[in-house]
Homo-oligomer: 105 residues x 2
C-alpha cells in the first residue's frame, strides 16, 4: 500500500528531539491511527503506550527492542514490533522514513 | 482548519537537503494538493512549478521572495505566496512546521 485513502490528517506536526524526529498523524476510516515520520541521524529512546509496528520505508538504522541486548539492523526497508508500555532504542545512521501503526491490544 | 478530512496521503516522504527539509503529500477531494513539511535550521533555495501558498504553523524563519531584496521574518505563524515558476530563499532559524498549498493558475 503506497497511500492511505479516506484519511484524516492532523495538520500540525509531532516534533521530538529538536525536530530530529518528526511525524504527522493519520487517522483511518476503521478508527486506526498511524504516524508517518522522519528520523535524522542520531540516537533516540522512545516509550510506547500502545503496541507499535514500525515499518521502515527508507533509511539505515539499528533498533534495540525491550529486554534485548542485541541491535537489529535495518537497511532500506524492514519492520519491527514494540510491545505496549515499553521502551526501545534507535541508532539512526541515515535519514529514515517510517510508518508507525498503533495497535490496541 | 486543524485537520484534512477524506484525504489521500502518500506514504513515502519527500526528502530534500539530506532530510533537513521533508514533507508528506496530501491530496484533497477537490483535487487540490498540499504538502505538510518540516524544515530544520539552515538556508535553502526552492523553485516553484505552480504557485505556492506557504502557511507557517510553527517556527522562526526569513523568506526572500523572487524579485525582492528584502527578507520577511515570520515567527510562530504566518503565510507567504510564491509565484509559479520562480525561486525563493529561506533562512530557517528554528524548526519550522508548514503547510504548502499548490495553486494552478
Amino acid at each position: 500500500m503506497t497511500q492511505f485513502n479516506n484519511a484524516t490528517v492532523i495538520k500540525k506536526a509531532n516534533v521530538y528531539f529538536d525536530g530530529k524526529v518528526t511525524s504527522r498523524t493519520v487517522l483511518l476510516p476503521d478508527g486506526s491511527k498511524k504516524t508517518l515520520g522522519i528520523m535524522l541521524p542520531g540516537e533516540y529512546e522512545f516509550g510506547t503506550d500502545l503496541k507499535e509496528v514500525m515499518e521502515i520505508l527508507a533509511g539505515d538504522l539499528k533498533v534495540q527492542l525491550p529486554g534485548s541486548e542485541e541491535w537489529l539492523e535495518i537497511k532500506e526497508s524492514g519492520e519491527f514490533t514494540v510491545p505496549a508500555r515499553s521502551k526501545f532504542k534507535l541508532q539512526v545512521a541515515q535519514v529514515t522514513d517510517y510508518c508507525c501503526s498503533y495497535i490496541a491490544d
